[in-house]
Symmetry: C2
Subunit: 117 residues, 2 copies
DNA sequence: CCCCTTGCGGTAGATTATCTATGGGAGTAT
DNA sequence: ATACTCCCATAGATAATCTACCGCAAGGGG
């Protein structure tokens, strides 16, 4: 009997940042779901945990919005896998979201740091 | 005909951070809703926008969880206002959420900064 | 006195995102 | 064949935020 759905600062992913993380991961090249998740987890030093139930819906909405495109391929383990790559629009979106992220972090940190000037 | 509910990196507040912002604001002393919202907006240099429809539910849940306590008072403008103050548990929670926030920011930034060592 | 604006609290409903918990199919190893 | 792993996928629950309302009271202008 599970309790929580998606608690904010106790969850595995900060809501609203998963899309950004996926887009950034795909900058390095096309990849399929498993690889993307592992890349995010590894590069975050296992602080971030990407659940499958969050990952695939995220991939679908990113594709629907045109930020990424997919094609079927074969994984390193010889499994059928759906690969995703960044589109031109996705690259642009990544730039925007990165900027927005940095603005928000700066803004929040200003609130957290009481008067420092 | 409303448009969108709560878009992630396009909204006014990063989902999951409002509680933290409120708790931090109350460190400086008790305050009522309007004051809290204005404080967050001002200290973030107007990057963050605290909507009433987000603020009051947030205050209620924080109180319900025991992080803050409330009492009725009179505002600077001679209006009846509900003041909130940090509880001892709230102070502790603030410390935890601040740490969690910093961990998450570091983790996400590691993902955003491709290989820098 | 009446009205309108402002300050202040509050809630309902919609939208979105994430998590938990499933399921299935297809390689691989035993 | 059986089990196990890899990989994709979806349903349902939960939570948080936003938009858009609603009340009430104080103050100012006519």
């Amino acid at each position: 009997m599970p309790k929580r759905g998606a608690p904010p600062l106790q969850g595995e992913i900060l809501p609203g940042t998963l899309d950004l993380l996926i887009l950034q991961t795909l900058v390095l090249g096309a990849a399929h779901g498993h690889t993307i998740a592992h890349a995010i987890e590894h590069r975050s030093e296992d602080v971030l945990q990407v659940e499958h139930g969050s990952l695939y819906p995220a991939l679908h909405r990113l594709e629907e919005r045109g930020w990424i495109a997919s094609f079927w391929g074969t994984s390193e383990n010889n499994r059928k896998a759906r690969y995703y790559r960044l589109t031109r629009a996705g690259r642009k979106e990544l730039t925007q979201q990165t900027g927005r992220w940095q603005d928000l972090v700066r803004a929040i940190n200003r609130v957290l740091r009481p008067a420092e000037e």
